[in-house]
Symmetry: C2
Subunit: 178 residues, 2 copies
């Protein structure tokens, strides 16, 4: 599959088959994330994977209850991946101070998209989530307060793999030759 | 090429052949970026491409002089891509306010990595750059002050395409099953 085809096929998947995802498949997705580039190779990411039983249930309950229940579809996803970010890296501090850009947030974007694209290649569906109870997730997983959780990703075999059309600005709108 | 192979082959390329990159190839790289997902589909990105003559020279002089000359290798890159970010999107403001995460920085990471991966598939080398004179670039391109430029990307045919080993944390260090 060409990269453009892979990028075209990737779409947010919110309904999943009730079918477990083998751990070697999950690991290949994390492997793709691990290979991602980052500012000064700081690799500010770690991934906590919940794929079974009570832990998954406790996690989704902590994440998607109350005002966060608009993402309740995630409660039925076979795999939940929590992407954590280490804010203490030197690069991040320098980038924010001198350039006004938190480079390690860009790095989280790159690494998680590698994960999502590898998942697509494996025939899995994924969905990026930014709206969840971060403090609740941190507490449930026993993570220290300095650990930032910007995004979570749901994963599983899609209930409906049909490709939906994408709504995007046109090439001429996003690209200009100087 | 499998996605894992593509992710493995991508590396920072700082030396380029003196060979122009056809615009249809550049456009396919931007096309890959255009297809990227973003928070609430806000698509906060635009790309300014400098690939020839005096404009490219003026741009690299504005970007990589003085304290920014540690990235002077970029002056010899056949193509310079300036990724601009629209900070005024609703999503970005809500994300920063309610969740403490500037989601559109993550989006810039995703879109630019799509661009970089498509370039890799086209046989091009790229390098992410975060250290440049942002105000100078903005002035030279006549961009408004609200436009944020977090990163620039150099692109061209690599002078030495040999794959260097990657230094990364191990899978067991970055992934934990809850």
């Amino acid at each position: 599959m060409s990269f453009l085809e892979l990028a075209t096929r990737r779409q947010s998947t919110r309904a999943y088959l009730d079918k477990p995802v083998p751990r070697d498949v999950i690991d290949r997705c994390i492997e793709a994330a691990r290979l991602a580039p980052s500012a000064c190779n700081s690799q500010p990411w770690s991934f906590v994977v919940a794929d079974s039983g009570p832990v998954r249930t406790q996690l989704v309950d902590a994440a998607f209850s109350g005002v966060y229940s608009m993402c309740a579809f995630a409660k039925a996803a076979p795999v939940i991946i929590v992407a954590t970010r280490d804010r203490s890296t030197y690069t991040a501090k320098l980038g924010a101070f001198f350039r006004g850009s938190e480079f390690n947030l860009i790095d989280i974007g790159i690494a998680c998209e590698h994960l999502v694209l590898q998942a697509e290649e494996e025939g899995l569906g994924t969905c990026w989530l930014g709206w969840f109870n971060e403090a609740g997730v941190r507490r449930m997983l026993g993570l220290p307060r300095r650990t930032k959780i910007d995004v979570m990703i749901t994963m599983g075999y899609p209930a409906d793999p049909a490709l939906r059309p994408k709504t995007r600005r046109s090439l001429d709108e996003v690209r200009k030759y100087a």
